[in-house]
Amino acid sequence: MVGVKDARLARDGVAPSTYRTTSAGLRADLPSELREVEGLCRKAGLLLERKGLGESVFAVDLLLREFTNNSMIHGNRLASGKRVRVSLRILRRWIVVRIADEGPGFDWRARGVGVPDEKSTSGRGLPIGAAYARHLRFNPTGNRVALWIETTG
């Protein structure tokens, strides 16, 4: 069955999202459309619940949203033909999320993870990453990120 969203993407020459779920996690290949983040988070939440990791759903959902949004908005500039690839792996003590986009990257070293001024309306994505992931690592270019979330379930 082809949904309205998939039909629109096909008309625009954009491959729809694909998911692969295994016992150890999931992989997603997404067009850069913000509505795709909902499906990703829903699937990740269901997987974690099935694995008895319900206590980790809030943190993983938050981090998936922040960093997938960043990849789509700032990395791929919301060009739906550009892809964001996400993997989530469940290990014994860790949930590891990796997100890659097709953008040019950014200078994450200069950006830092400090919390911005309370009147600032932006700049909280990386501080949220630092607050909710035990480890946050970018590749040198800044278009791939890996987040290690310690399981609490």
Binding site: L62, E118, T121, I128
Partner: protein
């Protein structure tokens, strides 16, 4: 489609949010808030009793609304905020700034 319901009473308004407020929902809610503030609303109470998810774009919208109202001697308040969201706001040092009150127990 964003889920929210704004009820106005004089220069105050209560806005009940849905389960999520994220980057996807922000443009429509932002337009609604601008309209309300332009029409004289000076205090907006965001009822988060049904809300489990906020992302940084949504938090930015709440700050922008508070900044706009503060310039007119107004403010926003967040009520019935879940423990997870209170912790998120505290970690961003915003709970006090946004007058966030946790959901009452029991």
């Amino acid at each position: 489609m964003p889920e929210f319901n704004l009820v106005r009473n004089g220069n105050e308004a209560v806005l009940k949010l849905g389960e999520k407020l994220t980057a996807l929902d922000v443009p429509e809610l932002q337009a609604e808030l601008k309209r309300g503030i332009g029409d004289g609303i000076r205090e907006i109470v965001f009822d988060l009793s049904a809300t489990t998810t906020l992302d940084s774009t949504a938090i930015g919208l709440l700050i922008a609304a508070n900044n706009s109202l503060a310039a007119k001697q107004g403010r926003i308040r967040l009520v019935n905020v879940s423990p997870n969201l209170i912790k998120l706001l505290q970690s961003m040092r915003l709970a006090e700034r946004l007058n966030a009150a946790e959901v009452a127990n029991g």
